[in-house]
């Protein structure tokens, strides 16, 4: 079920807006349908990433927490 990420963006230890900005820049390098994995520790990312996904139209496939890190899988539209 879990899709393989084409790229991992490590934004751990960074604050808003870096997780979302790095995610947007990384997605520019990907083709439609490819998946990016974002690692973040900013608690604001829990609200920011879904907000970003809703506005850009990219799909937030999965989200969760792993060892204190928030992990997001995003598929480029």
């Amino acid at each position: 079920m879990a899709q393989t990420a084409a790229i991992t963006i490590d934004s751990r230890g960074e604050l808003c807006p870096l997780p979302v900005v790095k995610l947007a820049l990384a997605l520019e390098e990907l083709g439609s349908g490819q998946v990016a994995e974002l690692l973040a520790t900013d608690p604001g990312s829990k609200a920011d990433v879904p907000a970003w996904a809703e506005m850009t139209g990219h799909a937030l496939l999965r989200a969760g927490e792993r060892d204190g890190t928030f992990v997001y899988l995003v598929q480029k539209a």
Partner: protein
């Protein structure tokens, strides 16, 4: 739009997207409810009043309102600071003090200006900041703390009053993009 967000979250409850999307999607489209999105960026007593007054008014008018507290504005949500916000008399020529502005640099003048402002407010029976915040909460104004500010200023959620949501710029912009009124204060 919520169809774009997967329902099969790895850990339920950690990221409550359903609630989040409901909050953000609720806007003018399906209802007559208008939205006001405010930014409170300053932490002085005089600049704490406008966002709270506008928010409570908006909510009283049946509008849905959220305030994003960022940078020094975060002090308005800070349990240890919100009841003792101050007015700066220096470089504030609007202060109704019958003395030259440079006097504001003398120690004790900030306390003096703050005392004056509090007195002016209570004479007009204006509520204090803590009461105004309580009113906003009762009227269901969304109080949003900027997580970047919390990180930069070393503020944790337990330093803030209860009922505050933690969000970043993207979440606020998404929320504000569905508002009819947005103001930066």
């Amino acid at each position: 739009m919520s169809a774009r967000v997967a329902k099969d979250l790895e850990i339920k409850g950690v990221l409550d997207y359903e609630a989040f999307l409901k909050l953000h999607a609720q806007a003018h489209k399906d209802t007559d409810v208008k939205r006001v999105a405010l930014v409170a960026s300053k932490g002085t007593l005089d600049m704490a009043y406008p966002p709270l007054i506008l928010a409570s008014t908006a909510a009283a008018m049946g509008m849905e309102c959220g305030i994003f507290f960022t940078f020094y504005g975060l002090d308005i949500l800070h349990k240890g600071k919100l009841a003792s916000l101050k007015v700066a008399p220096l470089a504030n020529p609007a202060m109704p003090m019958p003395v030259p502005n440079i006097i504001g640099a003398i120690p004790g003048m900030t306390g003096m200006a703050t005392w004056m402002m509090n007195r002016m407010m209570s004479k007009q029976r204006m509520p204090r900041i803590p009461e105004l915040l309580e009113t906003c909460k009762k009227l269901k104004v969304r109080l949003i703390a900027c997580t970047t500010t919390m990180g930069v200023m070393g503020v944790s959620q337990k330093d803030l009053i209860d009922g505050v949501s933690l969000e970043g710029a993207a979440a606020f912009l998404n929320y504000a993009s569905k508002a009819q009124v947005t103001l930066f204060i």
